[in-house]
Assembly symmetry: C2
């Protein structure tokens, strides 16, 4: 089974989000809308995952226009980031195949330039180099005027995690810099009135939510933790239940519970 | 269309929550598991709402045992509170009929004493008087040893809302007392390491999340806001998008988006 986690550059237009949600219904496990970042994250899985991912892309292409987009989070396009993730015994090769199919359709049917990421090259590198010294993997060669470009990837499971801190943006940037490492990507943002350390825990068996929160709390006061999307159940098993609420975790935030809630089978 | 919001006295056993979620799948819009309160809240709606509510009750009766329950939130039983709520043009009478059917099955098939609440009598009154000077509406007359009793109700839409504050439990209790009124029910709890003002906004057109948070913030420092379950879309329409993230609101937290995400029709 594959998971697909589509990040769109839209988090404020309720009606647009509703239409996109409807398009993704058969495989939709979670929607995370962040009005501060003006982004939304759709978590898909199950047998219909590729169809649902494509339906979201089509609906987003119809509804969104980056010429109106304002937001602090780095982004390349309306259908900004589309990673495929192997669940259970699925292989990264299967995720790469799904990635390649999705990229081909985005480029040919929606005229959106596509940058691939995956084992060969990570997302931060694509963001840094796109249209500078890196040409899209699939043409067009210039950003689509309404939709920009898309990063389509294949990767292992990661935990997308925000920690709001009582600190200046400068101090938060320092904290983010100290956190960065082979298992942690971290940036700091001003999100509305709040300062946030925004992370991807790319090897959550090595550094999980509890560890980064403890590290941040040793430097600044932690206001609130926010999980973006879902986690595999084993991430919870590593953390005492007493800490789940504080860490914005719980059985309701696992891929497994959401699959069961949709009447879908668990990954083999 | 009716909504049903089942509150169970279990929020720590991942496997039990998973089994219950699976039972509710056809009508499940949201699961909110709170390990601190050791409770979980299942939001159901759509044509299968009564069947799904009963499936949850059956699964809970099979899996839960209040003799093992520990938690700060007031509770009467494993299947603690089961309100039915009219959505769209549905009438409170339709909700009362669903309530009466559900109560009858809980009492007769699971031997759980049932207290009704609704227009005639509110939930706080039932909680205060149950088994003291108030006998169950449906027998048995004594609590079921494993499952306790259930409060089954019919009510209008409300917003269940927690605000974690930087204050002592004593001060939080004072704040809760000051908030209480015809549109607001409020209690204060120690939840894990955090002190929380836990509210039901029973007339959210009069007093909504933004208003209570502003009132609390004028008295003590607000650490984080937490919506329990979902809100009707119109609750968002009353609040500027810039405040959604801070208030734990967003299009993804509306009944409408969750119905669409399940491929269910919106309420008439």
């Amino acid at each position: 089974m594959l998971e697909c986690v589509i990040n769109l550059a839209e988090g404020r237009e309720t009606r647009a989000v509703e239409a996109i949600v409807q398009a993704a219904a058969p495989a939709l496990l979670d929607v995370h809308v962040d009005a501060d970042h003006n982004r939304s994250v759709f978590t898909l899985a199950g047998p219909m995952v590729e169809d649902a991912a494509w339906s979201i892309a089509e609906a987003a292409a119809h509804l969104l226009d980056i010429r109106h987009h304002v937001g602090v989070h780095p982004w390349l396009g309306a259908i900004d980031v589309v990673p495929f993730v192997p669940l259970g015994t699925a292989s990264l090769d299967a995720a790469i195949e799904a990635r390649n199919r999705m990229g081909a359709r985005l480029a040919s049917e929606l005229s959106v330039p596509v940058f691939f990421y995956g084992p060969e090259r990570g997302l931060p590198e694509v963001r840094r180099r796109a249209f500078r010294d890196l040409a899209p993997d699939l043409r067009p060669t210039r950003p689509n005027p309404r939709l920009g470009a898309s990063c389509v990837g294949a990767r292992g499971p990661l935990v997308a995690y925000n920690v709001v801190v009582d600190a200046s943006l400068e101090v938060a940037r320092e904290v983010a810099r100290e956190l960065r490492g082979p298992a942690v990507r971290a940036l700091a943002f001003q999100a509305g009135r709040r300062v946030q350390v925004s992370m991807n825990l790319i090897d959550p068996r090595v550094v999980g939510p509890a560890q980064v929160v403890d590290r941040i709390a040793s430097r600044v006061s932690v206001r609130v933790c926010e999980l973006v999307g879902l986690v595999p159940r084993w991430v919870l098993d590593d953390i005492p239940a007493e800490r789940w609420a504080e860490l914005d975790l719980g059985p309701d935030r696992t891929i497994e519970v959401r699959l069961l809630a949709r009447g879908l089978p668990l990954p083999a």
